[in-house]
Every structure is written in structure tokens, then in C-alpha cells.
């Protein structure tokens, strides 16, 4: 039965090995579900959150993986939208299925973690019913759920390409027709995700009572709105490339042409460069104008354990360094350096999301208040790690049973 589901002409590991892998991932997920149950049953008091750190690991991970999952929207935009004008982008066809699957995992996973994050999960729908149109979080709620639906729609035709499902004629026709109109969904997803990434950036940026997070901006949007979108575009495809490479390493196969990695390196490196220029300008303006206007110095915002090293790590080690690695032909030729570049790119964006949420809250705004430190508990780590395991399950099942890499057969004769 298992062999009949595996795409024709490709090799997969023996079922017992795959079963053991699934068992391991299931155990991790079970741990996360137990933690989730504990949070829902006992309340958020089992987390490390408190009245000062209303946002913590859940939000950081949500923001991080949503950015990393941006490969789906941005790759879709480049492939379905821009490749008409830039034919070289058609290369992305070789990795677009994986990008959609990774995006699906990230967005649905984020929704699962968000369920735990709010104190009254049964009232999650109030975001639609009592929507405050001024709140960035309202925009987040709308866009994340709508885009998750779009990603489901984008994932369905890939599932229907399974050998057995494709043999069923009505499903084949349905899947084929979905493929035909996929550009519409890709563009819808681009629109939704653009605003979603941006509104996630707006969440800290509009808090005018919080000098670390607050940013001036363009009309109703703070600069962080655009910086978050730009940074997600810069790291999303890099994360897809990393996942692809991990699958290649584990399966010991070549799944995409190296030219695809080269192309992604050039695109993400260039975008990271543009992002870093704007981010640096934004940081300078904030440090030299916004913060002093509130009576605070740059050094007031960085204290142990959230020291200045975070800023250097984010903008230097995980900003300048990956730009050099990704945009220099010599370093790009080395697989190790290329993927180090992709990794640092992704790590920098995650640090940025951490700084804009957790670090932003450590800083006492009232001069007579205390500097606080936040330490997540197992009840926060477990669901977040389980969400990664959930993503691994989806990617593993998809790789095993769906033809997600169109060049696999040719590259592995």
C-alpha cells in the first residue's frame, strides 16, 4: 500500500524507518499537545509570562515562523507574477511546491500556537465580531486566517497529485483546474501576506507609549510595517532553501538544480541588503531622534541579558555577514558558506522579532520602574517545538507521497 502511494520513478526510505521517524515526531507533538492542554486547562499561569511580559515566546515564535514562512507568498509572487517579465524567475518552479508546503506549515502552526497565546481562546472569533479597525492585531487576525485558507487552497492541488488520488478522474480534473487558476490564489496570498507581515510589524511600531518599539512612519503605517514585510521577503525563500537542503541531506538525493539555490541567494541577499539599509536608517532615526525625545538614550534600552550584543548580532553577524556570503560569487559557490548565509539571514530576522516583542517589554518606561527579565517555561517551549515537529510531519509526508520536486527523477537517475 505504501509503495503504491509513492510517486512513480522515485525512491524513498523503507517504511519502518519512515515509521520510526513519524513515531519520534508524534512523541514530540504529543508532548506539545500535553503542554497545550495544560495551558488551556490551568491557564497562562503555567507560562513564564507576567504583567510586564504580556508577550513572550509564543508571540516571538509566531512572528518568527510567519516571517520564515513568507517563502510561500514571495516565491508565489515571483513565480506567478514576476516571471512573465523576468523569465529567469521561472526557475522557482522547481521549488514552488515546497515553498507552499512550508508556508502552510508555518501559518497553520502559528494559528495553533496563537490559540494558546490568548487568555480566552473560545473568544478568538471576537476579532471578527467586535473588530477594532484601528488595531494592528485585528489586521493580523484577519490576514493570518484568510491567508491560511489560501494556503490550504494552494496545498490541495499538490495533494491531489498523489499517484492514487490522481488516478481518480474527478479529483484529477479538480486538481488540474485548481492548478490553472493558481495564479489568482498566489496573487491573493501575496496581497494578504504583504499586509499580514506588515501588520505584524505594526504591532510594536504603533505603541506610542513604548519608546523602544514605537516608530514614526508613513500615513497610518509605522516604518516597522514595511521593515517586517521586507525582512520576511528577504528570509522566506532562504528558509525554503534550507528546508530543501535538509531534505536533500536526509534523503541523500539532489532535489533541485543548484541554479535554484544560486537564484534564491541572489534574490534574498539583495533584499536583505535593501532591508538592512532601511533598518539601519530606521534604527539611527529612532536612536537619535525618537528615543531622546522621550528622555531615553540608546544604552537605556540594552541591559543584561538583553544587552547591546543583540543589536550587533541582528544587524552585524546576521545582517552584514549573510549579505556578503549570499552576494559574493566566490562564497556562493561554496555550499557550506551559501547555507551559512541562508541560516544567518533567517536567524537575524528571528532575533529582530524577539527584540521587537520581548526585549521591547523589558525596558521600564517609567523612570522609577524596574527592569524585568522573562524566562519561558516548558509549557511555552513544548508547543513551539511541537509546532516544528508538526511542520516536519507535513513536509515528510509530502516528500514521501507527493511529487513536490519536478526535477527529482532527472537529477537522480
Amino acid at each position: 500500500m505504501d509503495k503504491a502511494l509513492i510517486p512513480e520513478g522515485v525512491k524513498r526510505c523503507p517504511l519502518p524507518v519512515f515509521g520510526l521517524w513519524m513515531l519520534f515526531l508524534s512523541a514530540v507533538i504529543a508532548w506539545g499537545i500535553y503542554a497545550g492542554y495544560t495551558v488551556l486547562f490551568k491557564g497562562l499561569n503555567v507560562t513564564g509570562l507576567n504583567n510586564y511580559f504580556g508577550f513572550g515566546l509564543y508571540i516571538t515564535v509566531d512572528l518568527g515562523i510567519i516571517a520564515l514562512g513568507a517563502g510561500a507568498f514571495f516565491s508565489g509572487f515571483m513565480y506567478y507574477g514576476l516571471s512573465r517579465f523576468f523569465p529567469r524567475l521561472k526557475e522557482l518552479h522547481k521549488i514552488i511546491n515546497l515553498a507552499v508546503i512550508v508556508g502552510f506549515c508555518c501559518y497553520t502552526g502559528a494559528l495553533l500556537v496563537l490559540l494558546l497565546e490568548i487568555g480566552q481562546p473560545l473568544r478568538g472569533w471576537f476579532g471578527y465580531w467586535h473588530a477594532n479597525v484601528h488595531s494592528m492585531l485585528t489586521e493580523v487576525i484577519f490576514c493570518i486566517s484568510c491567508y491560511a485558507i489560501v494556503l490550504v487552497i494552494e496545498f490541495v492541488p499538490i495533494i491531489l497529485e498523489n499517484r492514487k488520488l490522481d488516478a481518480i478522474k474527478p479529483l484529477h480534473i479538480f486538481g488540474h483546474n485548481l492548478h490553472e487558476i493558481m495564479a489568482v490564489f498566489a496573487m491573493t496570498g501575496t496581497f494578504l501576506s504583504f499586509f499580514h507581515q506588515g501588520s505584524l510589524g505594526g504591532v510594536p511600531g504603533v505603541m506610542f507609549g513604548r519608546p523602544f518599539a514605537y516608530r514614526t512612519g508613513f500615513f497610518i503605517w509605522p516604518w516597522t510595517f514595511f521593515l517586517f514585510t521586507l525582512s520576511a521577503m528577504a528570509c522566506g525563500p532562504a528558509f525554503t532553501a534550507i528546508i530543501c537542503r535538509i531534505i536533500e541531506k536526509v534523503s541523500r538525493k539532489t532535489l533541485v538544480d543548484r541554479s535554484v539555490y544560486e537564484l534564491i541567494a541572489k534574490i534574498t541577499g539583495s533584499l536583505l541588503l535593501i532591508y538592512l539599509i532601511f533598518k539601519s536608517l530606521d534604527t539611527l532615526y529612532w536612536a537619535l531622534d525618537t528615543a531622546p525625545g522621550f528622555g531615553l538614550k540608546l544604552s537605556d534600552f540594552y541591559r543584561a541579558p538583553y544587552g547591546m550584543w543583540l543589536l550587533f548580532a541582528e544587524l552585524g553577524v546576521c545582517g552584514v555577514l549573510p549579505i556578503i556570503l549570499l552576494l559574493t560569487p566566490q562564497t556562493r559557490n561554496s555550499n557550506g558558506l551559501l547555507f551559512l548565509g541562508f541560516f544567518l539571514n533567517c536567524a537575524g530576522i528571528v532575533i529582530n522579532r524577539f527584540a521587537m516583542t520581548v526585549e521591547a517589554l523589558a525596558i521600564p518606561v517609567m523612570p522609577f520602574d524596574q527592569w524585568a527579565v522573562y524566562i519561558p517555561t516548558w509549557a511555552e517551549w513544548a508547543p513551539c517545538i511541537a509546532m516544528l515537529a508538526y511542520g516536519a510531519v507535513i513536509v515528510s509526508l509530502s516528500y514521501r507521497y507527493l511529487p513536490i520536486f519536478p526535477r527529482e527523477k532527472e537529477l537522480n537517475p
Binding site: 504583567n51 490568548i118 473568544r123 471576537f126 467586535h130 484601528h134 505603541m207 522609577f368
Partner: protein, 253 residues
Amino acid sequence: MSGSAHSEHAESKVRYGMVIDLDKCTGCGACSVACQQENNVSFRPDESDKLRTLSWMTLYRLENGADYPDYRAAMLPRPCMHCDSPHHSPCTFVCPVNATIRDEHTGIVDHVAVRCIGCRYCMVACPYHARSFNWWDPTWPKSMEAMLTPEVSPRMRGVVEKCTFCHHRLNLARDRARLNGEDPDTVLYTPACVEACPARAITFGNLKDPNSEVAKLAKDSRAFRILEKLHTEPKVYYLSSAQWIRRQSDNGL
């Protein structure tokens, strides 16, 4: 809830505000206890984790940082500032479900507990830490249950709560005014903290009435507000003749 929370300030007759005289405040904590009792603020058997305490009126200890004999200390009671910044308060601006809204007819920033989804965005946005989250189910010792205020609903686990300037007392005063044939929109009332303060350090009233004591005190040369530079426009004013206290109010600006 009257008025639109999203408009600029409406042409209302009242803007309730508070003035706290730090030169008079002894830091006895009566305001905090009265607030807790009046508003059914629950507590834990072990309150040592202050970052998870439910507190609508927190007392901060201010120090001048000098050594003896120049050392000085003062206590600063901090209710919700009921920020009056145009367009929005920091918390009302961010709440995705309109659970916290400013009544533009009174200036009171309210919190609708039964609508709150517990996302805590309002807590994050508030620079004064005026909001607390219900980390546990609210409980009281059996002997204290009979002392709960019937006009104030206890809040359930998973929602945020904060000082409402004893909004229920306003509603009672408005009801009384209607029964007496008076204008309910101009009533005056006294929040629990004001009533409890033995030093009479807290004054409450209509900031829009130039003849009111609170409006006069708010214009006093000793008056200041916390973090004026953030432009949250608090409706809670403090009075102090000590320069070191005033300097601390706005990060030395």
C-alpha cells in the same frame, strides 16, 4: 458606553480626572486596599510574585538616589492614567476587539471584561503598567465572599483588568441624578481610593469645570504628569514641591 471611541474628544461637559498630592501621601496603602475591596480585585494566598499581582492602584517607591543625610523617598500611588491623547489612548488604540474603549463623554477608559480575549496587547501598550492579567481563577476566602461589592462583576481567568475610576459609582450617581430630576451628565462622585485616603491626598472631579478643586489643582505650579513626553495625556495629575520627584516623572526631561 456612550460616544464613539474613535472620534476626537466629544463636546462633553465632563472630563473626570484625579490629582494626587505626593507631598501629602504617606504611602499608607489605604487607597490600594480600598480599591481592591471596592472593585472585587481578587488575590492569591501567596502574593510574593509581584509581576503577577492583580493591582489597580499600585504604590511605587521613589528615591532620590542620594546618600544619607540627603536621602529622600516618597510614595507614588498609580491608578490607570485614563489617557486622554487625541484620537486614542495607547491601550484603546491596540485592542483588537474593542474591549477597552474610552467613553468620550466622561473621558473614562473602560474595560469590557466579557469581551476581552486576553491577548494582553493593551498591557503591552500601556507604559504605566496600569493593567493586570487574571493569571488564575479569581478566588476569595469564604469569609470574604459576603463582602464583595454587588455592583462590580468579578473578572474571570484569562482577561485583563484595570482601574475604572470606580465607574460603577458614577453609574449609581447618574441614576440618583435621574431620580432627582438633575442632569446625569454633570454628576460628581467619589472613587473608593479618594474616599479612603486618610491624608486627603487624592482629589477627584471634573477637569473641565474651571471652578472644581481638581481643575484648580491640575493647574497648580506643583502639578505634573508622568511621562508627558509620550503625549498620552494622562488625566491623573501629581503634585509635588520636590524637584527630584518632578525630574523623575519624565526621565529627567
